[in-house]
Symmetry: D2
Subunit: 339 residues, 4 copies
Amino acid sequence: MNFLSDTTAPAHPALLESLTRANSGYAASYGNDVISAELTDRLSDIFSTDLDFVLTTSGTASNALALSVLCPPHGMILCHDEAHIHRDERGAPEFFTGGAKLLPLAGEHAKIDVSALENALNQWPQDFVHAPPPRALSISNLNESGCAYSPTELKALTQRAKSEALNIHFDGARFANALVSSGESAASMSWQSGADVLCLGATKNGALGAEAILLLGDARRHLPELQARQKRSGHMGPKARYIAAQMLAWLRDDLWLDLARTANAAAAEVADTLRNAGADVIHPVDGNEVFVRLDEELAAQLRSAGVGFYSWPDGSARFVACWSTTDDEIKALEQALNG
Amino acid sequence: MNFLSDTTAPAHPALLESLTRANSGYAASYGNDVISAELTDRLSDIFSTDLDFVLTTSGTASNALALSVLCPPHGMILCHDEAHIHRDERGAPEFFTGGAKLLPLAGEHAKIDVSALENALNQWPQDFVHAPPPRALSISNLNESGCAYSPTELKALTQRAKSEALNIHFDGARFANALVSSGESAASMSWQSGADVLCLGATKNGALGAEAILLLGDARRHLPELQARQKRSGHMGPKARYIAAQMLAWLRDDLWLDLARTANAAAAEVADTLRNAGADVIHPVDGNEVFVRLDEELAAQLRSAGVGFYSWPDGSARFVACWSTTDDEIKALEQALNG
Amino acid sequence: MNFLSDTTAPAHPALLESLTRANSGYAASYGNDVISAELTDRLSDIFSTDLDFVLTTSGTASNALALSVLCPPHGMILCHDEAHIHRDERGAPEFFTGGAKLLPLAGEHAKIDVSALENALNQWPQDFVHAPPPRALSISNLNESGCAYSPTELKALTQRAKSEALNIHFDGARFANALVSSGESAASMSWQSGADVLCLGATKNGALGAEAILLLGDARRHLPELQARQKRSGHMGPKARYIAAQMLAWLRDDLWLDLARTANAAAAEVADTLRNAGADVIHPVDGNEVFVRLDEELAAQLRSAGVGFYSWPDGSARFVACWSTTDDEIKALEQALNG
Amino acid sequence: MNFLSDTTAPAHPALLESLTRANSGYAASYGNDVISAELTDRLSDIFSTDLDFVLTTSGTASNALALSVLCPPHGMILCHDEAHIHRDERGAPEFFTGGAKLLPLAGEHAKIDVSALENALNQWPQDFVHAPPPRALSISNLNESGCAYSPTELKALTQRAKSEALNIHFDGARFANALVSSGESAASMSWQSGADVLCLGATKNGALGAEAILLLGDARRHLPELQARQKRSGHMGPKARYIAAQMLAWLRDDLWLDLARTANAAAAEVADTLRNAGADVIHPVDGNEVFVRLDEELAAQLRSAGVGFYSWPDGSARFVACWSTTDDEIKALEQALNG
């Protein structure tokens, strides 16, 4: 009964099999292998556009690398106050950008409020030498409260940001979960909604460790700088074929979407189970994460029954479902709730 | 007939099997898993000392992270002019340290000359506010010309450096190759020879991507800062069990040493083969790398026969043997040399 | 009728005379001159404690240098949302620290609310590797709304911060204004109220360009690192005698306090004058700055009469009085207000 | 008898008078004052071209700021092994660029050898992702051995560097000394010889503290970024009129050239005096610096007579003449030499 995090889940067997298949003979290192080349075509198909990408093994690295080509050291990145890049990456964006500032914005359910964005853009102008100007907007989808932005919501933010020439970063550590929840296409939820760069994460959804930074549209011009920064930060994998092999297996035959659907469905059941036990589900469950308020007694009861979940800074409890969450685990949760 | 680099080789099957075994059920993320815990004991045994470590998937990351806790931004790192950290990591040490300076030192066969170290320490004093003082010495063993330092050679350098309170970093991307070549113990070639931190690399010797930064002796006090920097740089793997599982399989039953012995023996044969064909082997072959001067005709002949090797900046040619290099490959090289 | 900023005011003649006196013969460079030595004694007398210091010509440099020895790159600096270091220094603290994060806190009249500090310390723990821990608290006194903290208010913040081992930085760009307003001693308003480092500014109060970073108590141990960073950032003045000479003349015979009293008294008159004209003074006038809400008509009337003042991001108007503000200027303001 | 450094000399009275004149009434801060505006015209006249500039109070700051807009963090700056930016600025270029690498080049008399440049450009290619590519070339003129490059020598270096698209930085801390020594025009010794940016120093030649970073030709596009970095590093002087006033007085009526001529002439006499006493002058005396080899006895004799000079890392002794060096001082040196 582990609902701690999707990073505690195992990898899907198909990805391990892909590793084994990739482990034959010599392969060019540092991303110049044939599997990486095949991945280019696959990603272009899925996103219905030409694109460039680099691979890493960590979502933190992907976000920080992406932001480092979108925002100069003397600029500012706007994000939600709950954003993973602000709260949970130990200052990685500040490190990779060379000291850019992150400005946390408010909004219900960890969604950036358009008026908060508007207010920030008004308070921090582009041409005032004394203050860092906003240069990038970062949006997490699925976000840190487990909620999905719709394309309409995304466009409202990105169009306003683009009117000030900001670059747009999407943190897609749980992109697949947002995608299947919304029923939108990958294109619709990325470049058609304004993303210049999408960090597409597989690690939380069945991989051992595989993340892709996708450069979309005009942002493809950043590829050489991105590669330089990837190398310089130790994220250009010497044997990159093993990351590419994971990603390729994950994308094959819509496996990534199937895994996300499984996780989302499990989360919906977890939410129902918790609701039925009297817990207050505090955010829409658009993906694989459930946030609830538990009274202390119930929380203690769950912990003593061995149910794993995290206490959140706002006092709520987070339950995360994974591609591997089973019906038995949910039933065990139900039993633990019923004492 | 690929002698390009040990990073083009596949992983050893035992490591893939270890991954598969590790892929069962939930595991604590970010290095708090039981496999990582088991690895602590194994490394302590092998190095005959208590130690702390963190894991990464890249030698560049390991070196730069290690140096970032050994040298402040306003200090200087001494290394050989041929050092990987100086030549081949796109300024990673400068990035991770926040702008420390690397001072390249001279010496035959990519070994730092004691007098070059002496000269640098005299020219760059510790207490002159206008210049960055030397704060760390970095030594590669096996080094970038394929040569091994003996414990005596290491101590001559590290003792002089320690007399000025420098911290000592060993780049052990090919540590196993140096170890089996010298017949020394892991302890003798690391902390007993002055290393505060050893970057122990498995990637070039049978892993998919696994590197350990070992904190030795007093340097163990750097662990919290090292972990903070590991996280901040995106190198704290969310599913670290898969790196630990590789490392554990690699160290089990002396597999790492066996693989290195195989590679070194293959390199010795490659060297003989090249020598027999009239090439000039320009550095001692202490590990799995062979550097030769080829006349242009012979180089062209090899290339047209499909033999892979790198042209080095000094005009020589580098041939690298791997744990997976076969007798057939060496025979094929011989045939290609013979036209 | 210039009420734009105290940085638009001329320097006091006594400081220019001091420059002329200092301009005789040779003097050791980079702060090793006899005037700098004399300044040490003078500052120790005024602050009733042994201390160390370095001089710069810019408040931004002083703040950022101070913070860079108080907070590691992977830590966090807490400050008010209106703080100059957050709003008006183009990310200087982020640059000098190597990418530390600034966390803006709320509070009326630009004073950090104790509960906002408490909340931040609870949300951002010291031992969570994934997030930057708070390592420094920065307090501006006089603050950015022209208000002074009392020693009691300062201690409430600094004692709570010190309970988590945070380092304490005071931005004293207008320290003299706060001092004369409160009637406290320099010691009471600095180290006795918890400051580890005070950035003492003379530039806004009669100097051409002179700022001192004072290391107090245990923080004196940071001197060598501070000097290294001062040099590295180009703030170790080659001919530092000219900065020291300004600072010495400024401190002599309480000139600094007299100038601040003059500016504060002028600000009080400006506030009365604006109030009498129907403007709403929105913050206590504890120093030389007056913030008012003006209706648009009155604002336009003032501008057309040539009265200089700044529009503030919150829609208010800021009027700054200086040591050189004259009665005639205030009368002219009155006339402009009366149309 | 102080020949330690031109930074120990006083300022020329004309500059102090200019400060006093500038100290009247209000002036726009941060470089928007009328004196700074007047300086634009004056500099354009002198350099026979349109240009942009910012002012600082430190040569280290000027060099590092200039380099930070000419070289990305993942690039490399080529300079002489003796360059001030490499040896004497505590890693300021590394700090301001965000961790670019400096590659020291060899050459007699601290002049970069064309073949050393050639070799570096060959060894460090532009398109190899694993190593930082050369992106800037920095040349000191007058250089650190007191020697001047001729326009022909400069062009040989800059044209080769520009063929690889490197940006060109001239460190002109003693530019005036090189100029009067060569008899060339300011244009000839700067942009016509390939400089994109010239750091023009007045501090060592009569100012209290005044340096200008000149953006020339296409490099003028860097102005907004340069100003952002100037602010961010604390080098945008709040009361910049006092720096501009110095610079303007220094340039008026060729004062800067007259002061340099005086210093150079004094240096020539110092060199003769030392030669006559049997010292070996080891570099051409093209400016105001004299480097000699002294036997230990003579060095001790000079020190005991109170003659100030620096011991150089290579064992030589440096004597610096200033605009204020008098005949009496040189005579006193002569007497000290004669025992």
